[in-house]
Amino acid sequence: MNSSLIIVEILVALLGLGVLLADLWLPVERRRLLGWVAAAGVAVVFFVGMKDAAEVAYAFAAPGAKTGMYVLDGLAVFFKQFFLLAALLVILMTTEYAPKLGSGVSEFYSLVLFALLGMLFAASANDLVLLFAALELITITFVVLNSFRRDQTASIEAGVKYLILGATASAFMVFGMALVFGAAGTTNFNEMAAVQKAMGGSPIFLAGLVMVLAGLFFKMSLVPFQAWAPDVYQGSPAPATAFLAVGSKAAGVVLLLRLLFGAVPEIAARWQHVLGGLAALTILYGSLCAIPQRSIKRLLGYSSIANAGYLLLGVVAMSKAGASGVLFYVSGYLFTVLAAFTVVSVILARTESDDLSSLNGLSQRSPALAGALAVAMASLAGVPPMAGFVGKFLLLKPMVPLAAADPFLACVLVAALVGVVISMYYYFGIVRAAYWGQGVADLTPIPTSWAVRVALLIGVAGILWLGILPDALIQASTPAVEVLKPQAPVAQQHSGDR
């Protein structure tokens, strides 16, 4: 096997182990330095280790086989860069939050790196076995990250809830994998694509596929597997929540794209209405439940549910335009959410409550933080010229011709637009608290370290760059989805059997 294919994963694994070992020899007061080491290592891998995939290459393949468990193609490279950037920003954010994490902070860094490792493998998974191993690496690491603040009941509770619900989802996924394996005789996505026509009528295969999808939907926090998200987002330490919102969700997205459009595009096309209905329900649920929230992190948890719905909308389009829209949206979401969570974690590092009122007076305490938060919220709400606006536009555009032909998809589109309008209200609520909040007791300025400034600068620059000059990323995401083969649904000959 050509081990240079997985060089990025090897480097990240070594970095994570190195941070863990260095922790043994460093005195306590110098452990914060490990954050810089981890960040620098991820940055080096990001700038040096990533090459463009000239052609599709497989690793972990049987001798003489044309396909393998691990694939390196445009889509994988795109998402690997995405995950590395997300981890870099999360580590920078953690250096600011470190005092709250105590002496175990270097374990936090190495856990972030191990979760990153799982995501890097997820980006390349071409087999249900690697899909399962990568997802479990992510899930189990996040259980520890979520419950990292053992001094707080809320954090442990978030970890327990994620553990139980996550393990249930994985159990469903494993059982589904067993059924898929039994019916198709293979777990490889390319080999599955070759037999999908015959499998379309096999109830065992379809049941297995649904159970595997349930596991992925759990990762993405889509209705009806969204119940964990608000609690876990609220209870976890802010950097862990941020990584969960961006990295874990994007891992679910890339696996969903590969499974639906790489392995079983014909079956996926038959499920267009079910997926559309789920997307609409997810958007409406997330948007409506976010309205009464007072906790910032819980509000962002509901917002992330709604955003998962928008991402699924790009899948529902069953086209390459939709898939590249998903890639663009998730990139914009990365910059937006990480900018927002950087601000939130700076504030939460100073106070224990994450009530919206702790944002009051932020515009006077730190104009830079308030500005970055306002930009991020405007992008989440889809206000031009931010990344979120272009992203929503690219996701909704391929839906319009479909909606014109299909009344059900027209309802889905309307639900998505209603969700956008509702979301304006609660995102603006955060901006209002930061700029016009009343009853401020404490007006001491909030100092920001340069790690936070770098993270915020990358976040805000990314939001504006994708919003004002989206062409560069659109041109990068179009070849990335070339490996996917979405199929338009066959014309409505059996509209009754949906």
Partner: protein
């Protein structure tokens, strides 16, 4: 007269085990018992994998079982540690007491 156990028998047993495990997760209130239910669900999937592997003459399913067992072991290690941490803090291992995160 003896009955030869076929693929269908194994699958029915595995589906029953899976449902029993799910019932344990949904109906029981003690975290440790819920955890046992989860392990039962994972192992029922293992049984299905091995049965498919045997009857389809394809060893890949057996290999996948090793992955599942390894992951389940990691999950148990983390999960039990977490339950102990919860017990130390709250002197409880019941899901009704997990109420600090709410609207």
């Amino acid at each position: 007269m003896s009955i030869q156990a076929g693929l269908g028998h194994y699958l029915v047993v595995s589906a029953l085990l899976f449902c029993l495990g799910l019932l344990g997760v949904v109906a029981r209130r003690n975290l440790l018992v819920i955890y046992m239910g989860l392990e039962l669900m994972l192992n029922s999937a293992n049984l299905a994998l091995v049965a498919f592997s045997r009857f389809n003459n394809n060893l890949n399913g057996q290999v996948m079982v090793f992955f599942v067992i390894t992951v389940a072991a990691a999950e148990v290690a983390v999960g039990l540690a977490l339950i102990v941490a919860l017990y130390r803090r709250r002197q409880t291992a019941h899901v009704e007491d997990l109420v600090s995160l709410k609207l």
